[in-house]
């Protein structure tokens, strides 16, 4: 079955792609101008182009203003394009717990007559991060948006130490370990599917109040 993968460049969509790699024929990315989007990943979304190139997968990219229901229409158009161009029969998402995202994507797939697969759905969050490490994904934290995260988290590679700290933060502050509640966003620099690792050569930390983004300006 040919599948299109909703792809943000973060850890969850990359891992969902890895799980569906035998059937994945294209990536679909939505570039949202709305930094507060509940639907789409925003920090360093431009990395999807480098990731797609490194994996040799075609990328369907669509821009959206990020207005609440209009962004869903933009997503629907992108999925329709994938259906026409690559004859996909289903969509894969990296949704873990977000009912908001999952139900909206389910509805779009239903309307378009497509399967909707969520291979990470309700997966144990520590197990998910450990599987990324075990499978040699190189993931950095590229945005943090909640207390008690601070600037020092930006750019940190997700490893066993980071997982341990996230578990402690969960116990103390009830954060989502996988960042599913929007506490943090991640960017993948290498995975078993990449032919070439992405190397960050220029980046800048932008910090304001309790949140910040690692702005990746140049990669090679």
């Amino acid at each position: 079955m040919k599948l299109g993968v909703l792809f943000s460049g973060g850890k969850d969509s990359n891992y969902a792609l890895f799980k569906s790699r035998k059937d994945a024929v294209c990536l679909i990315s939505i570039i949202s101008k709305n930094k507060e989007s509940y639907m789409f990943h925003v920090p360093n979304i431009h990395l999807v182009e480098y990731q797609a190139e490194s994996m040799g997968l075609p990328l369907i990219k669509k821009f959206t203003e990020g207005e609440k229901e209009k962004e869903l229409e933009d997503l629907r158009e992108a999925i329709e394009e994938a259906k026409k161009k690559y004859k996909i029969e289903g969509i894969v998402t990296g949704a873990v717990e977000s009912v908001y995202q999952a139900s909206r994507i389910q509805k779009i797939c239903d309307e378009l007559g497509l399967w909707c697969f969520n291979p990470l759905w309700l997966k144990d969050q520590v197990e998910l991060l450990n599987e990324l490490i075990k499978n040699k994904f190189e993931v950095i934290i590229s945005g943090v948006f909640a207390y008690p995260f601070n600037e020092s988290w930006l750019g940190r590679k997700i490893d066993e130490d980071v997982i341990g700290e996230l578990v402690e933060l969960k116990e103390k502050y009830k954060i989502s370990i996988s960042g599913e509640g929007g506490e943090y966003e991640s960017s993948v620099l290498n995975s078993p599917m990449f032919k070439k690792k992405i190397k960050v050569v220029d980046s800048k930390k932008n910090w304001e109040g309790n949140s910040g983004v690692l702005e990746i300006n140049k990669v090679e």
Binding site: V99, S103, Q106, K107, C109, D110, W115, C116, N118, P119
Partner: protein, 179 residues
């Protein structure tokens, strides 16, 4: 012992990941595909959970006879979504088209041990049951029956996915099993 039954077809590539594993993470039972389960097998377990499927995966509807063992089983059965549909159909209920996707309000229609007031639940189905006299209805959405119990047996159906946002619904069954 607890058996968690996978109702997904082979076309539903991630069905077990999405609809079965999350349940088994809660109950820590054994997972088997419905094609492997008969009465002899079912009798080894005192609680059986029949899980749901993807929206487009309705292959189980062509194999309802595979679940005839339910009539002779005397433990507890919990059917979730497709599992509830199977439970109802085995006892003569018919299916009707009824699509619900996402969070939906469930209203209490009869006193029961699961909930005392209305609540929100996650739905993902194209069909619902026309409930017959074999069952009592504990809760309904605006469109269809959501929580049912067989009148004389310990067989329960939940059309919504309680593993999403309503995990506590399984607690009573686990306690009952322990006790």
């Amino acid at each position: 012992m607890i058996l968690v039954i996978d109702v997904n077809s082979s076309k539903n590539k991630f069905g077990r990941d999405e609809f079965v594993r999350p349940i088994n993470n809660i109950v820590k039972g054994e997972i088997k595909h419905y094609s492997e389960v008969n009465l002899e097998e079912a009798k080894k377990y005192d609680l059986i959970i029949i899980c749901g499927t993807a929206l487009r995966d309705n292959v189980y509807l062509d194999s309802i006879e595979k679940f005839e063992w339910i009539k002779e089983y005397h433990g507890i059965i919990v059917g979730i979504c497709a599992g509830m549909q199977i439970l109802g159909m085995i006892f003569g209920c018919s299916l009707k088209e009824c699509k619900e996707i996402g969070m939906t309000k469930i209203n209490k229609t009869k006193e029961n041990k699961f909930f005392s007031t209305g609540f929100e639940a996650y739905e993902l189905h194209n069909y619902a049951l026309d409930i017959n006299d074999e069952f009592e209805i504990f809760g309904k959405s605006n469109k269809c029956a959501q929580v049912i119990k067989h009148k004389t047996r310990e067989f329960y159906g939940f059309l919504f996915h309680f593993e999403v946002r309503n995990k506590h619904f399984i607690d009573g069954f686990l306690e009952k099993k322990k006790g």
